[in-house]
């Protein structure tokens, strides 16, 4: 199905199942420990052996020699695979660095070897017996030092300019020109990357934990230089990803290589202390923002520049993305520059670009509002735009930012907000902050297969994944709505490369694209059912387990009495996203308290108001948003991969060192969804919400901390060491 004109009325609009708060259909499996994650498939042919990964001890250099003899002789060891015996390997299209080092080492903890043994204990022990001699070479590990050598990129990443930014900024009566920094961050999903690999002759099956089945299937085949038809990738349950599991990673490759060498299925879970440096991370940024305003508060000039780093051949953190679209202003510029760094591979983490970009932009907006003597909500409302500010003849498909801000302000009690440093509660300084949320809506081609059997059971099959987003449930809701059957009559099978290729889970495109693909397949199935029932032409209504055409009716199951009916289709998107800017919007409100003695900052209240098209399942969508808000608190107050600029690695590479929020950090969180349906994005009229929830949270926290203390911090995370000397004297 091609989606190239705005959706008319369709069966989803009935909203009898879709749009209802629905508990996860996979919930009972998950809460009882029965959902099998990658390392836990007990149906693998043969008893898997255990693989343990050895990570490189240097950030950059060459392996002069590897002595694996002692490890190979160790009890229980079945194989040791290094670059010397791995065979010729390619590199996946989505990977920047190789997944197996040697002889060159590209980053710290890059996989150097996998040891396969009968037991986990034996593999771990033997891995420590491998002697590697490295020739360490100098590398670039400091973004600030590399900043001046950073280069502009082309294509979508090229600098933009509209009007006369320099002139308009220079002549603006109120100006802001500030630098902000965001640190390297780690996805830190709870399930480490893990894979079981099993070979049968030339055929390879991997049970893995991956957000994008088809990307990783192709990249595994490309890396192993084998036909893609010979690889099957299965990923039904994924213990969190946040972008960290978008790509083929070393667990899958090392398990495959280990299994081939040991002639046994092999399971590998990447050890937690390797995760931060072996896997990808969100790159740090240095950002400069210039705002020029009239005294009336209207933005005349808006400029946003960002610098980030990555390995040779890597990409930018696109932190200026939202600034092209979020606020009005006739004179505009953005620019991004990329430095080559020898730190581990930078790549997408939840809301890449917008998350760090808004952390900076929305502090800048707060600062400018203060300079103008305006309320920060009012300042944002004043500078709203209903068209793409770079191409004013291009409207947004739907844009309710103003309502998000205004409804949120009312709900949160924003009018009670006082000036900086004015509110005390015992030893706590208390403040409120706001930030706009913005994330583009992306659509991806997505396919599904749907089957109807003689019992009236509908089975959905697609390689789409559920990374905690609620995919199982919204797919079941979609099929139930389309076919008029109860939720309990729908079986959803996900995450298997033998199923139709889907959009996968990333860029908050998963929910809308994958359900739209299923919608297309259901449309086909409906046609096939009507035809099978011989009901002839006329509008078919599927409801209550029955099919009605005109005055003819039948149980849906009857259509499949003589054999299963199968339909398959995919949704493909035309150019509606060119004609209309498709984005999601929101507003975050935060109340924070800062201990006036110690500077400890804690969040007391949080509210998000989101406008993201039709909300397919308010329960799961709300969880996506509160989860993102939680991650935003982490980004604001604690999360930072600390770089050792001498050795070139992330030092705090475990969950004790890299702090993420715990229960005690997070208060009750409230989420409101604006009632919307966006007919320009898909027949589902839904947009993504999982990344929107993160966008702006950090700045709302930062602005609340400022409002509490009167001390502005522009370098994330906002830890007490950065402002303790500016809090008032206490003794």
């Amino acid at each position: 199905m091609k989606f190239d004109t705005p959706a008319g009325t369709n069966p989803i609009d009935r909203m009898t199942v879709v749009g209802k708060p629905t508990p996860r259909i996979d919930g009972p499996l998950k809460v009882s420990g029965a959902a099998p994650y990658a390392y836990e498939h007990h149906d693998v042919p043969g008893k898997p052996a255990y693989g343990y990964v050895l990570g490189a001890a240097v950030a950059k250099g060459t392996i002069r020699s590897i002595d694996t003899a002692r490890a190979q002789r160790a009890p229980g060891v079945l194989a040791v695979v290094t670059y010397r015996n791995a065979g010729k390997l390619g590199k996946g299209q989505m990977n920047t660095a190789k997944l197996l080092a040697g002889p060159d080492v590209q980053h710290y903890h890059q996989a150097v070897a996998v040891v396969v043994a009968e037991t986990f204990e034996q593999a771990r022990s033997a891995a420590a017996m491998i002697d590697v001699d490295y020739a360490r070479t100098d590398g670039a590990f400091d973004l600030l030092a590399a900043k001046d050598g950073a280069k502009e990129q082309g294509g979508n990443d090229a600098p933009t300019a509209v009007g006369d930014f320099q002139g308009a900024f220079a002549s603006s009566p109120v100006q802001l020109d500030q630098n902000y920094t965001t640190p390297d961050q780690s996805h830190a999903m709870m399930e480490p990357m893990a894979t079981i690999a099993a070979w049968e002759g030339e055929k390879l099956t991997v049970w893995t934990s991956n957000q994008m089945v088809n990307w990783s299937l192709k990249d595994l085949a490309a890396t192993l230089q084998m036909p893609v038809e010979n690889v099957r990738l299965i990923s039904p349950y994924i213990g969190g990803g946040f972008g960290g599991k978008l790509f083929l990673r070393s667990d899958a490759l090392m398990a495959s290589l280990g299994a081939r060498a040991a002639k046994r299925p092999v399971k590998v879970a990447l050890q937690r202390p390797l995760m931060a440096n072996n896997a990808t991370h969100r790159p740090s940024t240095i950002q400069r923002i210039r705002l020029g305003c009239g005294r009336d508060g209207k933005i005349a000039a808006i400029g946003h520049e960002s610098w980030s780093g990555d390995l040779e051949g890597g990409g930018l953190e696109v932190a200026v993305q939202q600034t092209k679209l979020l606020y009005a202003g006739a004179n505009r510029m953005t620019a991004m520059r990329l430095a080559v760094l020898d730190l581990p591979e930078g790549n997408a983490m939840r809301a890449p670009g917008e998350a760090p970009g808004l952390m900076a932009l929305e502090i800048a907006m707060d600062e400018m509002a203060e300079k103008l003597g305006m309320d920060p909500v009012a300042f944002r409302v004043l500078n709203d735009t209903q068209v793409d500010p770079e191409k004013p003849d291009r409207a947004f498909s739907q844009r309710n930012l103003v309502r998000c801000l205004q409804d949120g302000a009312t709900r949160f009690g924003w009018s009670r907000r006082k000036g900086p440093g004015q509110v005390r509660d015992g030893r706590w300084l208390v403040g409120m902050g706001v930030a706009a949320a913005f994330r583009n809506n992306l659509n991806m081609k997505s396919g599904a297969r749907v089957r109807l059997d003689g019992q009236g059971t509908v089975t959905v099959e697609t390689d789409m994944t559920d990374i905690g987003t609620g995919t199982y449930t919204i797919m079941a809701q979609t099929a139930a709505e389309m076919l008029g059957v109860p939720l309990a009559k729908v079986v959803v099978k996900l995450g298997d490369s033998s199923f139709p290729v889907s959009a996968g889970s990333g860029g908050q495109w998963g929910a809308n694209s994958s359900t739209a693909g299923l919608y297309a397949a259901c449309v086909k199935l409906r046609e096939a059912i009507v035809e099978k029932l011989g009901f002839g032409p006329g509008e078919a209504v599927f409801e209550g387990g029955q099919v009605h055409v005109g005055n003819r009716s039948a149980d849906i199951a009857r259509a499949a009495k003589s054999g299963e009916i199968v339909a398959e289709d995919s949704i493909e998107f035309g150019d509606l996203d060119k004609k209309f800017q498709q984005s999601t919007f929101g507003a975050h409100f935060v109340e924070a308290a800062v201990d006036r003695y110690t500077g400890e900052a804690r969040v007391r209240r949080m509210l998000a108001v989101c406008a993201a098209g039709r909300i397919l399942n308010p329960t799961a969508a709300r969880s996506q948003v509160i989860g993102a808000m939680t991650m935003g608190v982490g980004g604001a107050l604690m999360e930072e991969l600390a770089v050792d600029k001498r050795f070139g690695f992330f030092v705090n590479h475990d969950l004790a060192g890299y702090e993420v929020p715990v229960h005690a950090d997070i208060p009750h969180q409230e989420v409101i969804f604006i009632d919307e349906a966006d007919d320009k994005v898909s027949p589902m009229k839904a947009k993504g919400v999982g990344e929107l929830g993160l966008c702006g949270v950090g700045a709302a926290v930062a602005n609340a901390v400022y409002n509490a203390t009167g001390v502005r911090v522009r370098d994330y995370p906002i830890t007490l060491d950065k402002y303790l000397d500016r809090l008032g004297e206490v003794a």
């Binding site: 996860r24 009972p28 037991t119 034996q122 213990g239 991650m631 929020p661």
Partner: protein, 212 residues
């Protein structure tokens, strides 16, 4: 003070507790088999535990953690390995009524112990009230930390009822209150990167019969 560390009081301290005596008694001399199947093979030891009410006997490489004994030897993979270093809580199980990180304890140290894992709390068709409350309040997303969260949540309510103080207990001389503030502090050893904390607090409050 060396003298002051008197015989009587030291004996009190050294006194073997009732549970300890039972364990020591069942083991006799306390020397554990160091059988080696082949000359090079790692030392093994036998351990008997009651897991989810079922008596189990295992002979394990001494290095095997309780977590790996459950997951890799008993196929009880409901208990998760998130970090293997006591930094995330995904491996939380209840041993002799107390929650612990199963990754930071050796299986052979649990001779005679009663271990309850998520599979022992309830099953898909017969959920424990806490499991049901997690589903109802959507107290999870990816589900990987969830079994640990639930084992912890069940134990936390018991800890509050037992009067064990926490970091947020206002008056440590008094019994702690059954509040979500107490629950949040006590649950902090269970990290949820999906960020379901607010919903977990509601699920726990429901089971505890208090207002979230």
């Amino acid at each position: 003070m060396t003298q002051g560390c008197g015989a009587i009081s030291r004996r009190d301290v050294l006194k073997t507790s009732a549970a300890g005596a039972a364990i020591a008694g069942s083991l006799g001399t306390g020397s554990v088999a160091m059988a080696q199947a082949e000359p090079n093979a790692p030392p093994t030891a036998a351990v008997r535990m009651k897991v989810n009410g079922k008596q189990t006997s295992l002979t394990l490489d001494t290095r095997t953690t309780l977590l790996d004994a459950l997951r890799e030897h008993l196929k009880l993979t409901g208990t998760k390995k998130g970090c293997d270093h006591g930094q995330c809580g995904a491996c939380t199980v209840i041993v002799n009524g107390r929650r612990i990180n199963s990754c930071l304890t050796l299986a052979v140290m649990h001779e005679g112990d009663e271990v309850t894992t998520i599979e022992g709390l309830g099953t898909v068709g017969d959920l424990h009230p806490m499991q049901a409350a997690f589903v109802e309040h959507d107290g999870f997303q990816c589900g990987y930390c969830t079994p640990g969260q639930i084992c912890s949540a069940v134990a936390v309510l018991e800890e509050i009822r037992a009067g064990i103080p926490s970091h947020v207990t206002e008056d440590i001389g008094a019994a702690p209150g059954m509040t979500t503030l107490e629950m949040r502090e006590r649950m902090s050893g269970n990290i949820c990167r999906c960020g379901a904390y607010s919903n977990i607090a509601e699920a726990m409050a429901q089971v505890a019969g208090v207002k979230a």
